[in-house]
């Protein structure tokens, strides 16, 4: 995509010049420069806390920079609000959609639009919305209520909304986080249609995935600064990861190095019907000591229910669950734990950990405590973990909510893998790296790999397909509560798995 040159100088659609933004105790953006060409796809890559979301928020008018300036088509603009940003043709689609579930797509799209006629004619609006949608290859029926849509479709509604309101520049925050592979492909088609119409797209992402592949340029941030800006084809993922993290990162696949042994966890025709809806249908699987079985699937296809059933938080309505050969159906979390299960729930802070309690207190959570709580030995344990797993914390009495996502996940994994002891040999892990930095992802994967090597049976349930493919010795795909695809880890055909995740196999 060509740059527009006027009088020899490149005219950028949008630029940041020396933008600095401070928050209490944090320098979120430190003299950041950023340039976006018309018709360009530009990825803003960085770990959590690198400052990329702050920069995106400054660019769309949500934050005002403390120092520096934002330029639109070469002239400085002082954006006072996202609406003001929109008036300048800049729109942001947030990771968590801001739509009204009970409204139709058309109603959501026109919501907040200032120049609506006093009397709304539903038909006119629907036609307008459909027109915009069609022009950019976004198939949508404007009469459908948003509550019935999948994550991918909701995202399309947000994009149509931005386009309807006249956006020339679209900032997408973690756009592929909630999408199945075929949906990602559709998003990319839309992005291509937009750039052909001269619009620019910024992806804000912490993942070295697909978004990097379709970008014309990638700008990498670390610790509030830009560490590099590379055009397509100039750098591979390894180089980008190094720019992001500041050191060499190993994200190559890890497979079991020992022969899998006896079966420790077995599900036999397990089903769950709740409120008349079948959430889990007839799932049978087994996990042996020394292997990781990965469950892939788009969020909301029964992952949560499956994990809760195994962990004893919900009782299945049919079938059997065996841990170490003993039946554990509906005996409650405590007894399931005694039978040898450790569980890392998807929701780290708020389910796995008590956020306001200290690291020490969170380690005693799953212990047998007696009348008085023994915090002395827990403190020794906590300090050992902090050292061994390089958990960054002021001290062992720090509340877990004050830790970064990666560090609180390390606390949780430490408790579930090591503190649980040898008698606990089955480990159920749900989306363990969601929202984590590349560096933390590497550390978590290393821990899971170690757990496997030490002879644990690991069931990894994750919405992150890359994660499942990196770790699992066996991959199962969950779709609408059923296992629709099963394949050995080293024989995976990514396309077949992607289709299965979308229910198309």
């Amino acid at each position: 995509m060509g740059s527009h040159r006027l009088g020899g100088a490149t005219l950028f659609a949008l630029s940041a010049r020396q933008v600095t933004k401070r928050f209490p105790g944090v320098l979120a953006n430190d003299r950041v420069d950023f340039d976006l060409l018309p018709g360009e796809v530009h990825t803003l890559l960085g770990e959590n806390g690198a400052g990329k979301s702050t920069l995106a928020s400054v660019l769309c008018g949500l934050y005002k920079p403390d120092e520096g300036a934002v330029l639109r088509n070469g002239t400085q603009v002082r954006l006072t609000s996202p609406r003001h940003g929109l008036q300048n043709g800049i729109a942001m689609v947030h990771q968590h959609f801001r739509l009204v579930d009970r409204f139709t797509i058309a109603e959501n799209v026109v919501l907040g639009h200032r120049n609506l006629p006093f009397r709304l004619r539903a038909n006119d609006l629907e036609d307008q919305v459909a027109q915009v949608a069609e022009r950019f290859g976004l198939p949508l029926d404007p009469r459908v209520t948003v509550g019935e849509l999948s994550a991918g479709q909701r995202q399309r509604v947000e994009i149509v909304k931005a386009l309807y309101q006249g956006a020339e520049i679209l900032l997408l925050d973690e756009p592929t986080a909630l999408l199945a592979p075929p949906e990602v492909e559709k998003l990319f088609e839309t992005v291509r249609a937009m750039t052909q119409a001269g619009k620019s797209v910024v992806f804000v992402s912490h993942k070295l995935g697909e978004v990097v592949d379709i970008s014309d340029r990638v700008t990498v941030m670390r610790d509030g600064r830009v560490t590099g800006s590379v055009a397509r084809g100039e750098a591979d993922t390894r180089k980008l990861a190094e720019l992001m993290v500041g050191r060499d990162i190993d994200l190559s696949p890890r497979r079991s190095r020992v022969a899998a042994q006896e079966t420790l966890l077995q599900l036999d025709k397990v089903g769950l019907t709740k409120d008349g809806i079948e959430r889990i249908a007839n799932i049978s699987l087994s996990v042996r000591a020394g292997e990781i079985v990965g469950i892939a699937g788009v969020s909301g296809n029964g992952q949560r229910e499956l994990a809760e059933i195994v962990a004893g938080l919900q009782a299945p309505t049919s079938g059997e669950i065996l841990i170490n050969g003993a039946r554990v159906n509906g005996i409650g979390t405590r007894k399931v734990r005694e039978a040898g299960l450790a569980y890392v729930p998807e929701d780290r802070l708020g389910t796995g950990l008590a956020p306001s309690l200290s690291i020490v207190d969170n380690l005693v959570l799953t212990r047998d405590r007696g009348f008085l709580v023994d915090r002395k030995s827990a403190l020794v344990e906590a300090e050992a973990f902090i050292k061994q797993l390089e958990i960054k914390t002021p001290h062992a009495h720090t509340a877990t909510r004050k830790l970064s996502g990666g560090n609180s996940q390390k606390v949780l994994l430490a408790r579930e893998i090591f503190a649980a002891g040898d008698n606990s040999r089955v480990l159920v892990v749900c989306s363990p790296t969601r929202g984590l930095d590349v560096g933390a992802v590497e550390a978590v994967h290393k821990l899971l790999d170690e757990a496997r090597s030490s002879g644990k049976a690991v069931l990894l349930i994750s919405e992150d397909l890359d994660e499942v493919l990196t770790l699992a010795d066996k991959v199962l795909v969950l779709y609408r509560g059923s296992v629709v695809h099963e394949v050995a880890g080293h024989e995976v055909d990514v396309e077949a798995v992607g289709l299965a995740m979308a229910g198309l196999s």
């Binding site: 010049r17 300036a69 002082r78 004893g312 979390t333 708020g350 008590a354 306001s356 709580v373």
Partner: protein, 369 residues
Amino acid sequence: MIIGNFRIELEPRLSSPKWLYLAVPAGSLVFAFIVGGIFLALTGHSPIGTYGSLISHGYTSSKGITNTLGLATPLICTGLAAAFAFRMNLFNIGEEGQMYLGMIGSAWAGIALAGHLPHVLAVPTVLIIGAATGAFWVLLPAILRAKLGTSEIVSTLLLNYVALNLVNYFIYGSRGFFRDPTTSFPQGRGVEETARFHSFGTSNTYPTVIIAVLLAVALYWFMKRSNFGYETSVFADSPNTARYAGMNATKLTLSVLLFSGALAGLAGAMYVVGPAGKVDPGLLQIGLGYAGIVVAALARYNFVAVVLTAILFAGLRVGGASLQISSNPVPIAIAVVLQGSVLLFALGGEIFRRNRLRIRRVQQVSVAS
């Protein structure tokens, strides 16, 4: 907010330094006295003279401090009751009614049982039965909350009115067990002498104050160290985490609410074994149950701080009441204004503990492109 060239902002603190936990309440006390002083000046009283006399009547004179400790005794108990429940996000605001029931239960024990008991057991029995009836009064709201999720705020509050009318009925509405049969004047039947504590000397302070203080210290230790305290703190912080760890929410909810009710009931029982010696409708007038909630909130639900706050509040009451009978009588309302201001400023002061006030010069942005 921008004033002239300056921008005034509240900036969240990453961590609050320890001294602020003392400075903010102390500061709110000072500001409350300033506000009260304005009211005093407006009504033609010297603020300094009035405060001097308030402090002397409430705290520094021997008569004042013993009166204050006497009033503080049940207030400590209701304060502990509120703090205990509120810590687990169970908003028992029925301390008032539970205290009345404690008074009724302990008076019954003092009349019916104490005569049959050895001397050393009489007072403890009366206190325990008072606590048990207080717990009984929160039983229904506790079950509804634990099993059906019914708001305990509404149910405990409404039961306060039931308890209030129950006391009125026993004394004014009927000639039953609790009514003194020897006189036509409506008053409670006295408990056995063995069921009462003697006050210290001629003061209005009873040994129950020692029990209340020891109870606060014991609770502080127990909730910090025991498994029960641990489980309640997990549950209060994150019910999902408690469920994940296999804690029994029903059991915890029930035991916390019942124990809170027992503490409030104990307040009523201490009133019986101490100054009252009978079912005394006088207790209905002084609102020690509701005041306990305020005390607990000011003490940030810390059990030891509850003791100090209760004494502070009781002193304001006692001192405020004495001001009415001075040469230039100050209305009791002033003491109430002071109490209200202390609460208001203490809660408002929280914002300064969590945030830092920043005043910055507005900078002009220069573009270098």
